[in-house]
């Protein structure tokens, strides 16, 4: 086993351990605090009583949602960053999340509030936005910086459209929509979580199948062709899966910024691997979102949507990235 692979294994193990520890703490924290032992008993005892209800029914869905959604966002980010060959080419920077919000808002105000229609609206809005950003940024080839600036501009336009839609909507619809738009996982219960988990599992399996092609694309289009890869279909498949991953998450929780941006980069630094490590990225994303949700729920004076915490952490991280990369051209 090479040194790099060994390091990756160690990092993944450490991340998994950190996730379990944090999850136990999160399961025990709240208005009704439980010790580690009590959490364990509640989870595995058959007649745990009230403790079991609290842990399994109330807190576990939220913790699992944070973990799974964090992992999905990170995978999506890793795919986008690999395909655009740019650490900033993540779906939240290029306007995907805001586009999902626009799509969902249009559906919410025109059709009405249901999980399926919101999800379809979010996915559609996200896909259209991604396509528009890509087309607008494309001019005799794709440049990373142009993609990012166009993404920022499209985000600004969609933000205006969203405000307009919210102001036009009825008050109740607008309230529900703006809670969703802040990016919160507090309202996702088992009923919404399980179908999303199933879809995400299928998508994650697809990523494993496509990962080989992704590695070859990272070597450059010519080298990938020489390895016998059909470049454009492989790239398109990766992008579709990447979009689908983040769209499913966004449909359930609203736009959660910056996990997709930061997780793959942190994982790359931890593992010191040459390409973007998928498993380590997913674990980092899971840990990040769980930690952010813990901060949002318990450490702040009053609970806020997790999206606000990730945007602050992620923005600081991006500034750090810019300082760190000062010597390399973007």
């Amino acid at each position: 086993m090479s040194a790099v692979a060994q390091r990756e294994l160690v990092v993944c193990g450490a991340l998994a351990l950190a996730i379990v520890l944090l999850a136990v703490v999160a399961l025990g924290t709240g208005d009704y605090p439980l010790s580690v032992v009590e959490v364990a008993r509640a989870m595995f005892a058959t007649d745990g009583g009230f403790d079991t209800t609290i842990v399994l029914e109330w807190r576990l869905p939220r913790v699992l949602v944070a973990l799974v959604f964090g992992a999905a966002l990170a995978l999506s980010g890793a795919i986008f960053q690999s395909v655009t060959r740019n650490p900033l080419g993540s779906p939240d920077i290029i306007g995907f999340a805001t586009g999902s919000y626009t799509g969902a808002l249009i559906v919410l105000t025109l059709v009405g509030d249901s999980y399926v229609s919101t999800a379809v609206g979010a996915v559609g809005g996200g896909l259209v936005t991604a396509a528009v950003v890509y087309l607008l940024a494309y001019r005799r080839g794709m440049q990373g910086f142009r993609l990012i600036i166009v993404g920022i501009a499209v985000t600004a336009i969609l933000h205006s459209v969203n405000t307009w839609l919210l102001l036009r909507a009825q008050v109740e619809v607008a309230m529900a929509a703006s809670i969703w738009g802040a990016g919160s996982i507090s309202l996702v219960g088992w009923d919404e979580a399980l179908p999303a988990f199933a879809v995400l599992a299928v998508l994650a399996a697809t990523v494993i199948v496509l990962a080989r092609g992704m590695r070859q694309l990272e070597l450059g289009d010519d080298a990938a062709k020489a390895h016998g890869l059909r470049v454009e279909p492989a790239r398109l498949a990766l992008l579709v899966v990447g979009v689908a991953l983040i769209a499913v998450v966004t449909a359930s929780s609203g736009p959660i910024a910056f996990v997709a941006l930061a997780a793959p980069q942190i994982a790359t630094r931890l593992t010191k691997s040459a390409g973007l490590p998928l498993v380590a990225s997913a674990l980092t994303g899971a840990f990040l979102l769980l930690a952010a949700d813990f901060v949002a729920q318990h450490l702040l004076p009053s609970a806020v949507p997790v999206g606000m915490v990730t945007v602050v952490i992620g923005g600081l991280y991006l500034i750090g990235l810019l300082i760190g990369q000062a010597r390399k051209p973007l």
Partner: protein, 331 residues
């Protein structure tokens, strides 16, 4: 008379038209002769004249002041950073202002404009310096992309904190919420008057340093050899930008893209001479913000779309056009 003077005269006439529209158009349309009577006729009892004097007039004055302040601030930032994408909104300066005001309102309990005005200036100044410092680390100096990204990242961080604070304490931030929306509605004279002197100082500074900025456009070394004091000019420009962007944010809330668009339009009309760019920005900025405000009043009748939202919708396509241009970075 040169073409530039003619152009400026046309722009001033256009400004007069938008001012008239801003006073006459709204959820209650008022005929221009009634407006005239309300302003100069002295018949002060009718509902129309109350609307004109207490609501439309201060609103128009705020749009003019904020528009020119943001446009001139944008012209200065673009000249100093030699970055065509620079805008007080995009570079996070207005977010810095908004953040400082949120601290003043939420933590220190200051609610008057005179009180939080200083925080708006301070926030703008700190954000300008921080973004510029981070953006210019590195060997190749200030790159437009890095500066823009730093501004966007800082803006995201600060506005995330502000929205969390707003959500945590809705009542304490009731005043803040209306201010932060980027709407010019219902702000009145009280918040407007104390800001005017600062904006005037900022504009005077902008004219004073415009000749040196012309030299700086050639590069720092050449500018120094032409006798421009590069460091002094930069410092004065940062002070002016803070006064202008902070002042505009204090009276109108965070409004983006005015400072991006207007200097480009001005440069397209008058060429690279900074003195003319500042002069044109002074007139074109108010036209844009007034027009945006009037459009915002019309599209959602009887409700309103905040002017800041309309400017973003108009301004973002300009940003896209700029990065798609072949020589995007030849300023």
């Amino acid at each position: 008379m040169s073409v530039r003077v003619v152009g400026l005269t046309v722009a001033v006439l256009l400004l007069a038209v938008t001012v008239a529209a801003s006073i006459a158009v709204g959820s209650r349309d008022i005929a221009l002769d009634v407006v005239w009577q309300a302003l100069f006729g002295g018949a002060a009892d009718s509902t129309d004249s109350i609307v004109v004097l207490d609501s439309r007039l201060p609103r128009t004055a705020i749009a003019i002041t904020a528009g020119l302040a943001l446009a001139v601030a944008g012209a200065l930032t673009q000249a100093v950073t030699r970055n065509p994408l620079a805008d007080p909104g995009i570079l996070g300066v207005t977010s810095g202002s908004a953040f400082a005001v949120a601290i003043a309102v939420g933590v220190l309990g200051i609610t008057t404009v005179q009180g939080y005005l200083w925080f708006a200036f301070g926030g703008a100044l700190v954000a300008t310096v921080v973004v510029y410092a981070i953006g210019s680390i590195g060997r190749e100096g200030t790159s437009p992309v890095r500066l823009t990204l730093t501004g966007v990242a800082l803006g995201a961080v600060l506005s995330g904190i502000v929205s969390a604070m707003l959500l945590a304490d809705p009542e304490g931030f009731a005043a803040m919420r209306a201010w932060e929306s980027g709407s010019l509605e219902g702000r009145g004279w009280a918040g407007f008057v104390p800001v005017v002197p600062f904006v005037v100082v900022g504009c005077v500074l902008a004219f004073v340093i415009s000749r040196s900025l012309n030299a700086i456009a050639l590069g720092d070394d050449l500018a120094a050899s032409l006798g421009a004091r590069v460091r002094v000019t930069r410092t004065l420009a940062i002070v002016a930008v803070s006064l202008l962007a902070g002042g505009a944010t204090a009276i109108a809330g965070p409004i983006a893209f005015v400072g991006l668009m207007i200097p480009h339009v001005a440069r397209w009309m008058v060429g690279p001479d900074q003195r003319w760019i500042v002069a044109y920005s002074l007139v074109l900025g108010p036209i844009l913000l007034l027009a945006a405000d009037v459009v915002g009043r019309v599209v959602l009748r009887p409700g309103e779309l905040p002017a800041g939202i309309v400017t973003a919708c108009i301004g973002a396509p300009v940003l896209i056009a700029l990065v798609r241009r072949q020589k995007a970075f030849g300023l």
